[in-house]
């Protein structure tokens, strides 16, 4: 067998393991390190005394997204990609969830709480969500929404989306 047997997969595993340790140092424990970085091995380079395999890495640390209204610049939505970390199976009460939200976000006075529930973003990654509808003079305003996702263990707001338009009734 060729001594320079390409061990590209083994090399990638080794690099991924090293990078996973870096994640853990940063407080991120994940069964899917490929969500955070990707590795690609080059072809082995042969030397007299052995060979080397270089590995390129792409860090995929976070996909924070923010959406603004194109007309008036109003913040419409934001989310962070690591919102299911750390792993969690705990739940929080509706009262706790609302207290967390109202510390950070002004819930409009014409918002009516529609639902509160938990969902698994991924296995063992449970989040709480609050959803509001808008009512104007007792009529639901179709198309407007406010929802917030919260990590029950850390009480972090990890996702927010709101559309609360200026009504132009004709």
């Amino acid at each position: 067998m060729n001594k320079i047997e390409p061990k590209k997969e083994a090399t990638i595993e080794l690099v991924a393991e090293l990078l996973s340790r870096h994640l853990e140092v940063g407080g991120v424990y994940t069964s899917r390190p490929d969500f955070y970085f990707q590795c690609e091995a080059e072809e082995p380079r042969e030397y007299i005394a052995g060979f080397e395999i270089r590995v390129k890495t792409w860090w995929h640390w976070s996909d924070a997204r923010v959406t603004f209204d194109g007309d008036n610049g109003e913040l419409m939505a934001y989310s962070i990609n690591r919102y299911a970390d750390p792993p969690n199976c705990e739940e929080m009460t509706q009262k706790e969830a609302i207290a967390t939200v109202t510390k950070a976000i002004q819930v409009p006075s014409d918002a009516v709480l529609k639902s509160f529930y938990h969902f698994e973003y991924a296995p063992q990654r449970k989040l709480a969500r609050l959803e509001w509808e808008r009512f104007h003079q007792e009529l639901r305003v179709d198309g407007d929404y406010l929802f917030v996702s919260i990590h029950p263990k850390t009480h972090r707001i990890v996702e927010f989306a709101r559309k609360w338009r200026t009504l132009r009734l004709t």
């Binding site: 194109g70 009529l139 639901r140 305003v141 179709d142 132009r168 009734l169 004709t170």
Partner: protein
């Protein structure tokens, strides 16, 4: 316009609106809806008091927004 009048308009236009024969009336709600003459071009929208009428069946739904004053069909949403 009252709900019965709106439903009569929709039933009379059932084929025009391409409401599948399998679909049955599910709900009617008065709501404020966003309206724009030409939704394909950007620009300001206005809001109308409308009826949102929903028909559905096992495989899908259709939601129709009808102006609550004139009976004009403002928007149609389909699941497929």
């Amino acid at each position: 316009m009252i709900e019965e009048e709106i439903l009569k308009i929709i039933e009379s236009k059932r084929s025009e609106l391409a409401i599948d024969p399998d679909m049955e009336f599910t709900s009617a709600e008065r709501a404020i809806v966003q309206y724009k003459d030409d939704r394909n071009t950007p620009g300001p929208t206005e809001d109308r008091l409308a009826w949102t009428i929903r028909y559905s069946c096992e495989w899908g739904f259709i939601e129709i927004h009808i102006d609550g004053l004139t009976g004009k069909i403002l928007r149609i949403r389909r699941s497929v």
